[in-house]
Structures are given as C-alpha cells and as structure tokens.
C-alpha cells in the first residue's frame, strides 16, 4: 500500500494499476487491514475531539474503540477520519471509512435512498436554539427576523426551514461548515441564534468563557435520533456494529463495567450476564468474531453509562443529563435487545 502511494504520487504509474479485488465482506477487509477506519466529526466538545497528542477522544470515538476491541481484541486498532457534514456520507459510501460514528440523525432518506444501515440509536437528541440572554428572547416563536447560524449539510438545516415556514416567520440563514466556525460567528455576534442538536449546543456552550450569558430556548423542534451507521448490503458488518452497541447498553443494565467484567465472566451465575460475556453460547463466533468479543468491547472503555459519564455526563464540563438516554428501567428510552 505504501509503495502504491509512492508510485502514484510520482505519477510513474497510472491510477489504473491499483488493482484491488472487490470483496463484499467488510469484516474480511478490516481484518486484512488490521485496523478499523472510523469516521467521526471534525470536532464537537465531548462527542469527538482531539486531545493534546492528536488522538481522537469522546463519546463517538469510544464506540469505535469498543468495536475495534470486539474485532481485534485491541481497542487501539482503529484509525479516525474527521468528516464534515459534506464529506461524511461519501466517505462511508466510497469505503473510505468502515463505520460512521458521528452524531448523524437517522432518517428515511439516509437509510433508504442513500443506502445506509443504521445501528440502534446511541443518543436521542432534538434540535434546539441557543441565544444570548441579553436579547431577552424566551421562546423560539419570538425569533422572527433573526439571523441564525446553521451547519450546512445537516438535518437541522431542513428542520429549521420547515419550522419557520410552519410558524410563518422569516429568518436570515448564515450557512456554516463546522461547529468551531459556528461558535466563532455566534460569539462575534454575527448571528443572533445558533441552532443544532441540543446536545451539541450544550457542549458548545460549556466551552464558552461565560456560559451563563447564553441560554437554550425551551423548544425542541425535531426528533434527532443519532445513530452510528454502515453501508447497505453487508449484514454481517452491520450486525457487528449493532450488537457491539447493544452489548454496551446491556452491560450497563446488568451492572457489568470495565473494572468488574473479568470478575463477572468468571464468577457470575446469572445466565444473562454469562451469555453477554460469552461464557455461555457462541454468539461471537456466529458474528465471525472471537467469543471474547463482548468482553473486549466492554473492557475497551466501559459500558454505555461509563462512556456517557466520562465524556458528556453531568459531572463533565459538558454536563448533559441522561434524560431520554437513561435506561428504560430508570425512566429513559434506552432499550437494547437482549443477547440471547
């Protein structure tokens, strides 16, 4: 591969020489590569960001790490590709990334028309508005005539148009490519309102110097079920993603954490935990993975709750309450299918 890059760069060989045989099974390709290529966003505090060493951290990369651990037993066998709203779907469709874990809303057209397969929802979100408190606005219904910063290429752009049309209001859209740019524009007061997923707004606000000067309006104008996704047509691969996520959620429900997973595997008598951790049955093998896949996934970064609390939970600077994303047994709607 490296030398291929070289010759291509030199123009010594035509592009024609890259001869890779097509194969339907993403899992085989990934195993052959030796790492998982994961698409993330260009940066939303808490959800995906680079640390000082340039490594990707956050709620979304953690899922990719768990998946890499499930496949290779090594949470580090993953590489990240930052994608914008514009490049994310083409990156996935063209095979540049194997999985897209990037706050992406599941919609009909993305599933059916763009041909992607969505895993279960990993974050239930909704589109909100952030304004300065000094504007004295208390409701989104008062926003007529406002200048609104909006990330292009997202569902929020379409929701916004629908919402203002339905309420007979006008607005001035300022299209923005990335969250960082939107933040800059909003802080410079070049727009009155910044709209995106409420979680993103909270995360962005948390990074402000004076978060108290800004508020989220009470209206949530859309459903934004955020879910990781893969390409259509490879059910095995989609299953691996889906069940990695389910395992993380089930682990929280069953009280399995990164710290006690090994212990649980050895000592737990509960059939549901034994099945989850691979002590009973051969679920891993059926997925085309090792039978310790679920154990590795949980040990990579902890269960769903641990990941949530580490990056975006109430104790972090982002400070997002669990809300809808609490387990079904605790008043939320997180309801993962059982491993059985």
């Amino acid at each position: 591969m490296k030398t291929k890059l070289l010759t291509l760069a030199l123009g010594a060989a035509a592009i024609a020489t890259v001869s890779t045989s097509a194969s339907a099974a993403t899992l085989d390709d990934v195993k052959a590569k030796g790492f998982l290529q994961c698409g993330v966003s260009t940066g939303v505090p808490g959800f995906a960001f680079t640390d000082d060493a340039g490594d990707w951290q956050g709620f979304d990369p953690a899922l990719c790490r768990a998946m890499a651990a499930a496949i290779f037993g090594d949470a580090k066998a993953v590489k990240f590709t930052p994608t914008t709203g514009k490049t994310r779907f083409t990156a996935l469709a063209s095979g540049e990334v194997d999985v897209l874990a990037r706050n992406t809303t599941e919609t009909f057209s993305r599933d059916v028309d763009l041909k992607f397969t969505f895993a279960p929802v990993n974050y239930y979100d909704g589109q909100g508005f952030m304004v300065r408190k000094s504007l004295g606005v208390t409701s989104a219904k008062n926003l007529s005539g406002a200048t609104i910063c909006i990330q292009t290429g997202t569902t929020t752009e379409l929701n916004l148009a629908d919402y203002f049309r339905a309420n007979n209001m006008t607005y001035e859209p300022v299209p923005i490519e990335t969250n960082a740019e939107a933040q800059e524009k909003y802080l410079a007061n070049a727009c009155d309102v910044y709209t995106t997923d409420a979680s993103g707004l909270a995360a962005t606000r948390a990074a402000f110097e004076k978060p108290g000067d800004h508020m989220l309006l009470p209206e949530i104008i859309s459903k934004e079920p955020l879910a990781p996704l893969t390409r259509h047509g490879d059910d095995q691969w989609a299953d691996i993603l889906k069940w990695t996520l389910n395992v993380l959620i089930n682990a929280e429900e069953l009280g399995v954490t990164a710290a006690n997973a090994d212990d649980m595997l050895a000592n737990s008598k509960l059939p549901s935990i034994r099945r989850l951790l691979g002590a009973e049955g051969d679920f891993g093998t059926k997925l085309g993975l090792g039978n310790d896949w679920s154990l590795n996934a949980i040990k990579a970064g902890g269960n769903y709750g641990e990941i949530y609390d580490k990056y975006i939970g109430p104790k972090t600077a982002i400070g997002l309450e669990r809300g809808l994303n609490q387990l079904w047994s605790k008043g939320g709607i997180l309801y993962a299918a059982p491993v059985r």
Partner: protein, 400 residues
C-alpha cells in the same frame, strides 16, 4: 527510404512494417493506439462507476432536481422559498455567482487600471506604494484575503443593535452586513426609465455627429460635458415633473435586525472586496506592462503631429496598449470568476454553495451535482475565452 520513394514515380507497395517505420503511416499507428488506450481508460473508469453505483444501489439520475429543496437561501435574486425545487436553488446560486463575478470584474478593472497607471507615476512615493500593494496582494493566497476580510467584518463591526446609523439613516454598517437605502419604484418610474434609455441613445447620436463635424470642419466640441448633460438633465427634469416616482426606503431597526432598505451581506462584501483587491494587483501589472510596451516614439510622433497630450493618450497610446492589455485582462476576469467559487469558505450561496454544497449534501447526488457545477463553470469559461478570441482577431495587426 522515404527519400527514395519521393524521387521515384512508382508507388511503394504497402508493407506492415511501414506502420512503424514510415513517417506517413506512423502517425496513424500512434493515433490508433492512442484512441484504443483512451477508449480503454474511459471504458475502465465508466465500468468502475457503474459497478460502484450498482454495489451501493445508487442510480444516476437528475430527477432530484425537481424535488423540493427544503432549505433556505439568504441572498436570492429571484423568487425562491424552501419549497422550490433544487433546480431553482441552483439558478439562485448561478445568479449569485454571476453578480459577484460581474461586480468583482468591474471593481478590479477600475482599481487595477488606477494602480497600474500610478505604478508608473514619476512620484517616487506613489510608485513605491503601488509596488508594495501589487507584490503584497499577488504573493498571498486569495483564500486568506477572503477569510481575513470576512473575519474583519464580523469581528470589527458592531452588532445591529449597537450599530451607528450613518448618512441620515442611509447607511448602517453591522457585523452581518451593510444596510443601504433601496429604491422604491412607484408608478411613473417606467416612463423615467424609458426617458433615460432615450437620452442614452441621444448621447450616442450626438457623439457620432460631433465626430462627423470634427472630421468635416475641424471644430472640436466639448463632447464629454454635452453628453453628460444630455443623459442627466431630461431625467432630472421629468423626475420632478412626474412627482418623484422613485422613492427611497431606509433601513430601520426592528427586532433583531434592520428591516427595509437594501441589505448587502458581509459574505458578499468580503468576497467582493477581497477578490477585487487581489485581482486588481494582477490587472495593474498587465496595465503597466501594456503601457510600457508602447515605444516612446509613438508619443513623440503624436506630439510632432500637433496632438495635445490627452488626445495622444486617447487616440495613439491607449488603442495600442489595449491590444496588449485586453487578452490578459480577460483571463484575469476568468480567474476572478473561477475564484468566486471560494464563496463556500465564507458561506456566500453561489453555485458551489447551493448545487455543489447543500443540494449535494442533502440529496447525496455527488456525481450529478458536481457534473452540473463543473459544466456551468466550463460554459462560462468557454464563453469568456470565445469573446477573447473574437476580440483578438478583431484587433490583430493585419499582416501582409
């Protein structure tokens, strides 16, 4: 071998090896090989696309252009709502591109000519400053200028509620854009427009008549001032006669922003200013080299014929310099038009921002959208270079 055949009358019988050795046939061989390779390459690419599309379950179709776009565009020169189809969003983008390119070319030309002439000034300070301007702008990427202009506007200018209202309410600079008065066309303004057009035609005829008169009698009339009077006076006269049919709407602060009047967005201003300043530096160099290319003898010859300096410039130097200046000038126009696609960096909704941006994202039709966008730029480029060729042929020195 070929030499021998040139001298003998009998035709050499064709042999297969002549396809390689004989100059006359070799070009055919090479061309056939080229065509074959080209077809192979194209076929290979197309088959890959077909295969990839089939694997992904995609189809190649332009039907999406007739579906509702579902997004809003801030600057629209034609009627457009979020319910309009994608093709209309593309048209809005095309018009925005053309407006930007057109105004950019005008501003860049005015600035560039002024700077180019000043660059040749005998005034040391002026010529040095112009050199600094030209080198400074030419050697820094235009994208950086655009981003600088855009951040300058949004960071330096006040928010609407704190914005100063200048010129008696006529001009409000804010960090979102500039509010200016907008004309209100009331009944009777159509008549005024017709009068204006008629005066233009009149001024043109006067120019012809004055030239004919000069040729016949040698009398030189103050053509410029008389023309100006012909254009302005009737319009002013009828403006008051018809009871001021054109009013002005001034911007007023209402709610979040100013309402009424015209609104020039910062994204547009940043692009317009940055592109004009950048392109002006290149045009200035073209103008300078064009004027310098005219030999001093031309000026001296004109003086010896008794022509005054301004007529020398207008009748002798400029027509010759223009022949040199215009071709690179037009290719600068072309560059400006293509550079206007950088609008996407500051959120100006040109064709790259609508069809090549939001439509592409929302529909996932990369292939179709990008083909259309490239097609548009290609057509504009070919039109502009077509104009250039026509001009070049018309001014080319007719050689014998």
């Amino acid at each position: 071998m070929t030499v021998a055949s040139d001298f003998s009358d009998d035709v050499e019988p064709f042999r297969l090896s002549m396809l390689i050795y004989d100059k006359r046939y070799r070009s055919y061989t090479l061309q056939i090989i080229t065509i074959a390779l080209f077809m192979l390459a194209v076929g290979w690419l197309v088959s890959n696309v077909v295969q990839n599309f089939r694997d992904l379950g995609k189809e190649f179709s332009f039907a999406f252009l007739w579906e509702p776009a579902s997004y809003d565009i801030n600057q629209r020169l034609i009627e457009y709502t979020s319910r309009s189809p994608h093709w209309k969003a593309a048209v809005v983008g095309i018009l925005n591109t053309l407006v930007l390119a057109f105004l950019g070319c005008i501003a860049a030309t005015i600035l560039g000519v002024a700077i180019g002439v000043m660059r040749l000034s005998k005034n040391w300070l002026v010529s040095r400053l112009m050199t600094i301007y030209i080198e400074g702008f030419r050697n820094v990427p235009v994208l950086l200028w655009i981003l600088l202009a855009s951040t300058a506007f949004s960071a330096m200018l006040p928010a609407p509620r704190q914005a100063p209202v200048l010129l008696g309410g006529g001009f409000v600079p804010t960090n979102r854009g500039f509010y200016v008065p907008a004309p209100i066309w009331e009944s009777g303004s159509g008549v005024l427009a017709i009068i204006f057009l008629l005066s233009l035609v009149g001024a043109w005829f006067f120019g012809r008549w004055a030239r004919a008169k000069q040729a016949a009698t040698g009398e030189i009339l103050p053509v410029f001032w008389i023309r100006l009077a012909i254009i302005i006076l009737p319009v002013l006269f009828f403006y008051f006669i018809l009871g001021r049919p054109i009013g002005l709407s001034l911007p007023e602060l209402k709610g979040f922003n100013f309402q009424g009047g015209g609104f020039v967005r910062n994204s547009f201003m940043a692009l317009w200013i940055a592109l004009s300043l950048y392109t002006a530096a290149f045009i200035a160099e073209n103008v300078r080299s064009g004027i310098q290319a005219i030999s001093k003898g031309q000026t001296e010859a004109a003086y010896s014929l008794g022509l005054p300096p301004n007529r020398t410039m207008n009748l002798v130097i400029l027509p010759q310099a223009l022949r040199i200046i215009i071709p690179p000038l037009i290719s600068q126009y072309l560059n400006l038009t293509k550079n206007s696609s950088l609008a996407i960096a500051v959120g100006y909704m040109d064709i790259t921002g609508t069809l090549g941006g939001i439509t592409l994202n929302q529909t996932g039709r990369e292939m179709e959208s990008l083909l259309l966008v490239m097609g548009f730029y290609l057509i504009v480029s070919l039109l502009i270079s077509g104009v250039m060729n026509v001009y070049n042929n018309s001014v080319a020195i007719k050689e014998r």
